[in-house]
Symmetry: C2
Subunit: 276 residues, 2 copies
Amino acid sequence: MSVRHFVGDVAAAATPDHDRGLAYGDGLFETMRAHGGAVHWWPAHWLRLERGAQALGLALPGQGRVQQELEALLDGDGGVVKLIVTRGAGGRGYAPPDPATPHWILSRHDAPPAVPAEGLSLRWCDTRLAVQPALAGIKHCNRLEQVLARAEWQVLRLQDAQIHEGLMCSTEGDVVSATAANLFVLHDGRWSTPSVDRCGIAGVCREWAIGALQAREARLAVTDVEAADAVFLCNAARGILPVARLGARVWRPHPEVSQLRRHLAAEHPAFATEVA
Amino acid sequence: MSVRHFVGDVAAAATPDHDRGLAYGDGLFETMRAHGGAVHWWPAHWLRLERGAQALGLALPGQGRVQQELEALLDGDGGVVKLIVTRGAGGRGYAPPDPATPHWILSRHDAPPAVPAEGLSLRWCDTRLAVQPALAGIKHCNRLEQVLARAEWQVLRLQDAQIHEGLMCSTEGDVVSATAANLFVLHDGRWSTPSVDRCGIAGVCREWAIGALQAREARLAVTDVEAADAVFLCNAARGILPVARLGARVWRPHPEVSQLRRHLAAEHPAFATEVA
């Protein structure tokens, strides 16, 4: 793993003191799959970052500069690149500094493990997602709910060795997503995915899959998921993740999910090698 | 301002890479008033930190070591000391590292401005606090809601030059707190303060004031605040803050608030100088 820090346009040795990201989670991030030294979905990641920056009223570094540093970090290789952009340094207290110079951090990580051929095993998380329309959809750095949810089956790992991901409901009871992936369900030939206007994240791969499947965004109940004909998760780092099990519910591999994986492999070079 | 960084028991030059506080707001903080080289409410601050660490399942550094470094940083003086404790460094992804070595940061700041003699002017914030019982009460580092709320009247500052603080409601409509202070209201000789079991922070000065006033914790509506006989805010950095105005509503100085300020001044040396 390697990490590079920047303050505005200037490289730095580490995150400067009084960083608002560290103090308040006052920042945004993107987790991006790379292949051959480039991030195929870069325009979509940057667009989401811009939406988040508008919602939080924070300044972004120049897109060209970030892309240049990202490609330098990749140096022709693939894997996963994470970008964090924080509001920058500020004094004590919540008032956003104005003007502020954003801090940004690029880090490079190994490619995630290949998708299990048999599909993922899921559980329901006890931790709920709070309803907050002002922050819904964007990929901000306030992620304690996901940390608590993910810790649920880390603690239980001896009993629950086969769990790959957990599904989360909102405090209102709607199904929203997995801890680190969006969710799609098939009913009577029609795909749907939970709306992310009250909580949850508008994933870059979710966006792609909505277009590819002509999926609808909907409020989904627990019973809607358990009664589905097929289920998959997706995120920009791992692509399409077929689901085989959710608690006692078992699904056989579904041809539409396999077809979607081939579709993604044909469009996104990082996922081409994973599909037979 | 001066800042000191630690990784477990070891001093560090800066926050190490892959810090979970920066990535996810996966940490806790305390903002403490100091006087004569010591933090008078240190036991209460540490107790709240322990409650937060239990809720998040994160390890704290040794209390004695933190207190020793805090007093070294103060070097006999007063002001405000901020302590941030994060879960430490971790890999990409939400799963908490286990074991993890906490990162902690001490920073020293000037004492806040004296409380305006005429009392504070408040406004209602548009930004709401999401209801999340799993995180309610603790002083964690996911504070984007407070940042957005505080930014509301920063942007409006030309029109709203006299605004000192803003009150926030939950997404369910209950009044919770100011952006950086707890709230107390008087009705018919009885003080009450909003419950913090669904959202909000269990402030150290709030705890003190509940005891001093035999105040009750309650769900409060906007109309309960506007109909109150007297209102004050409080936090551990500034003590008791009388409120003079909330939008069009005006309150005269109330003898019970003045008396509470004298009571605090008699118990807490940092606030002794501020009361005539």
